[in-house]
Structure formats: C-alpha cells, structure tokens
C-alpha cells in the first residue's frame, strides 16, 4: 500500500522531530547553558544566511573537498589499477602504502602549511591525502578480485589490450570503485572541517572555531555542525544513487 510506505518513510523524520522537541525542552529548562537549543541553532543559521556567510562557507568547504577528492581520484585510481594488475608492482609498493596509510591527514597540517602556506591549497592537499590512500587500496583490491574468467573471455574474443581495459577491467571494478569513492568522500568531508580549523579562514570548519573565539557564539557552532551533518548526508545519498544503476547492481548482491 502506498500510504503505508509513506508512513514508514516518514518514521525517521518523525523521530528526529521528536528528538528536536526533547532537546529544545531540555535546553530551555537548563540554566547551565551547556548546549544551545535547536531554536537558537536555527536562529544561528538564519543569522549566517542574513550575513551572506551561509552560502559562502558551504561553497568554500565544498570547493576544497571537490578539488582534493577529484585530484586523489584521478591519480589514485589509475595508479591503483595498474599496481593491482602487476603483481610485482604491488609487492614493491604495498609496504610504502601501508606505512603512509595510518598517518592521519591531520598530522600533515604543519607540513601542509610549510609547503602551501595558509590557504585553499593547504586544505586541498590535506583532503587529497585523506582520499589518496584509501582510494589506491580500493583500486588495487578491486583489480585483484576480478575473476580470471572475465579476463580470459575478453582475451578469447580477441580484444586489444586497450579494449580489454575499457570493456572488461573497467566495468569489472566499477562497483567496488564506486563504493570506495562513496566512503572516501565521507572521509574527505570529515577532514575538510578539521583542515579549515587551522589552515584557512573560511568554510564550515573555520566557522566553528571562529564562532567560539569571537564571543562564544555556540548557536553558530551548533548551526555549523548541523549544516555539516546534512551536507554529509546529501553527499552520501548522491553517491549511493550511483550504486543503484542496473549495470552496477551485480557488484553489490550477495550471491
């Protein structure tokens, strides 16, 4: 029944509304002001919109994420696919990748500032780093998991090496790559906030630090947090919708 389906879909929204009401009520009763209520936070968002900062900061953060993420994808995916294809390359490079991978991108902040100064380039570099290692590992793994039958079938039909890459390897790794990209974009969105707290003076991360420093505007802090959460959700939903494509769905089924 369509009505029933709609009700089920509305349930999480109803739950969020209930939590907001509870939060508002609790914040109103408390005298300590440990956390501004949702009403104040909403006021903070209105304030940001009125001063033209809402769009500016959102765009600034998205700009950095887009560039860092795209640069990492453009470099890490072809590199990872190549490394995965040639077993010797993987044996040579894997230890290096494994050493760099656990270093938090935030540990690079001083070096980023030293190399790129305070500005967009620094935070783009940090986002690039946070995406590069997970993506290269996803790509290596994806190539290695291509069933040999697909490659053999491609060779059997007389495909040239370029066509083998384009018509067999690429479609065979695409589902895994898209999942990797989705998860990595989420990481990038987390890292941009941290990077902006130190390396730049715009964006949602900067907003959080600045609101606290310039007069303890905790309503703006919570407003920024809410904006970050909602945009993160939208980015994830966007990437998830790619996974629904019919030519990709095979990669996500259990059997």
């Amino acid at each position: 029944m369509p009505d029933n389906g709609l009700l089920i879909r509305l349930r999480p929204i109803a739950f969020i509304v209930a939590l907001l009401i509870l939060w508002q009520f609790a914040a109103g009763r408390s005298s300590t002001h440990l956390l501004p209520g949702p009403w104040e936070a909403a006021g903070g968002i209105v304030d940001l919109v009125r001063h033209g900062l809402f769009l500016k900061y959102v765009v600034a953060s998205l700009f950095r994420v887009t560039w860092g993420f795209l640069l990492a994808a453009v470099l890490a995916i072809p590199l990872g696919l190549t490394i995965g294809w040639y077993r010797r390359a993987e044996m040579a490079l894997n230890p290096l990748i494994q050493i760099f991978r656990p270093i938090s991108p935030l540990a690079w902040i001083p070096i980023a500032i030293l190399w790129f100064g305070v500005g967009d380039a620094s935070s783009i570099f940090l986002i690039f780093l946070s995406c590069f290692f997970p993506l290269i590992l996803t790509a290596i793994n994806a190539v290695q998991r291509i069933p040999a039958v697909y490659v053999n079938a491609g060779r059997n039909f007389g495909l040239s090496p370029a066509n083998l890459v384009w018509r067999v390897l690429y479609p065979a790794v695409l589902p895994q790559l898209i999942t990797g990209l989705r998860i990595t974009l989420g990481v990038a969105w987390i890292v941009v906030v941290a990077a902006e707290m130190i390396a730049v003076n715009s964006g949602l991360g900067f907003l959080i630090v600045d609101a606290r420093n310039a007069g303890n505007r905790y309503d703006l802090v919570v407003a920024a947090m809410a904006i970050i959460g909602v945009i993160g959700l939208l980015l994830d939903l966007g990437m998830r919708s790619l996974e629904g494509a019919k030519s990709l769905r095979w990669g996500y089924s259990e059997d």
Partner: protein, 258 residues
C-alpha cells in the same frame, strides 16, 4: 553412416606429446604426461577422467590460455600460441559478463562487424538459444540454465570453428542439464562446429560425443578413445549404450554399483 565416420575425414586439431608441468614454490607437479590426440573437423569429442586429472588444463592448452611445457597443439596445421576468437572457450555459466545485458553479452565479440550485421547476429542467436523477451535483462535476472545458454550464444555469435566447453553444465540441476544437452546437440547439428567437451559425467559424455577420450589420473595421458557408434537421438537404455558406458566406467576403475 554415423556422424563420427562422416567427419573423421579432415583433422582439425592434433596434440602431440603434450607435457605440462606446473612449478609452484620450487615444487614441480607434472599434470599432463605425453598427451596425444587427434580431433576431426566437425567432430564432437568428450574428455572424461577422474577429477583433478588435468582435463581442464588440457582444454586450456587447446584454447591457448596455457602453453605446454613441451610438445605442441596444432589447429588447422598451425601451432596454437594464444587465445583466438576462432575457438571460443565456454566456462560454467559464470563466464557471462554481469555488467552487460543479454544483448550486450552476445554482441561482445562482434566489435569488428557493422552495426546492422551485429544486430542481425544478436537477434539470430537470441532466437537460437531461446532467450527472446530477455534481450534487455541482466544475467543476475536469469536462471542458471539461461545464463549457460547465453554464454553459448555469445560464443556462437562470433562464428568460431571450435567450441571448447569446460564442464559447462556442471552447476546446473539435473533436469536443466538434460535439456541443455539436447539443446547443445541441436545447435551443433545446425552449426557444425568442432566441439571439445570436458566433463566428469560419463553418462553425459556417452550421450553427447562421437568419441570419448578417457584420461588417466595425474600425471594424465589419454588411456583410451571410445567411439560412440550410436546414432542420435540416443536411447539411454539400449544395450549398446550401457555397454559403452560400462566400458568407460571400468576403464576408470569404477564399480557399477553404488
């Protein structure tokens, strides 16, 4: 005149002294030991043998996916040096590309043809394997038997002169398997390709083949070649059928009772 007699006129494939030794971690395992085999043009040959004996290795060598450690495989008088669209290897149904539709899969090997030629081939082979109405379906939406037919159609669409089938019906249920055998024979009669069919199922071999090559355990060679002199359609309760089948069972050292 049976089919076997009519086709043994011209040699399609000859394997001479084929040896295969796999080396792994410094240990070498001989898999094929002096395999000699001749297959006639248009013949249907089944290869049977104990599991793990190297049947698939031999078929991969014929397909050009592996090169023998020594000896050679010749097709039409030329030494096989790699995979070739003139001989298509059919895997169990897992060989179809899951990211392509039924049409896309059949069209896969036709990239050298014109658009209209591709279309008519795809339509022809969809018809032949009975997948009409599923042109736009993805393999995940098909049953195991349909996927297997799709893979056969994809192979046939490029007009190969040889089909190499590696236990193609092994993953199907027994009813579908019986139907698929009939279908394969029908298609083979229409297309007249040379077929080499690897199976561990002796009944399957005796039902399908003009000749059955029986392989020994590892390191394997061909112990015996049994000519199946029963015309199609074959009566699987006829004395001659049972006689041939039992002969192969005995050759493999298997009892007749379970």
């Amino acid at each position: 005149m049976t089919v076997a007699e009519s086709v043994m006129t011209e040699t399609k494939l000859s394997a001479q002294h084929v040896q295969m030794v796999f080396t792994r971690d410094g240990k070498s395992t001989p898999v094929l030991n002096d395999v000699n085999l001749e297959v006639g043009k248009g013949e249907f040959l089944c290869i049977v043998g104990p599991s793990g004996c190297g049947k698939s290795t031999l078929l991969s060598t014929i397909g050009g996916f592996l090169s023998p450690s020594s000896g050679e495989v010749k097709i039409d008088g030329q030494v096989v040096s790699g995979p070739d669209p003139r001989r298509i290897f059919v895997f169990q149904e897992r060989g179809v590309f899951p990211w392509l539709t039924v049409e896309g899969n059949i069209e896969f090997g036709l990239f050298k043809l014109s658009r209209s030629e591709r279309r008519s081939r795809v339509a022809h082979y969809i018809q032949m394997v009975g997948l009409q109405g599923f042109e736009k379906s993805y393999p995940a939406e098909l049953s195991g038997g349909m996927k297997q037919r799709l893979e056969v159609a994809r192979a046939l669409a490029v007009n190969p002169d040889m089909l190499l089938l590696d236990e193609p019906f092994g993953a199907l249920d027994s009813i579908t398997r019986l139907i698929m055998r009939g279908e394969l024979l029908r298609i083979w009669r229409e297309e007249r390709n040379t077929v080499i069919f690897v199976t561990h199922d002796i009944d399957e071999a005796v039902q399908l083949a003009d000749r059955v090559a029986v392989m020994s355990g590892r390191p394997a060679n061909i112990q015996q070649i049994v000519k199946i002199d029963i015309p199609h359609p074959r009566d699987i309760s006829a004395p001659r059928y049972l006689e041939l089948r039992n002969g192969i069972l005995e050759q493999l050292g298997l009892a007749h009772q379970v």
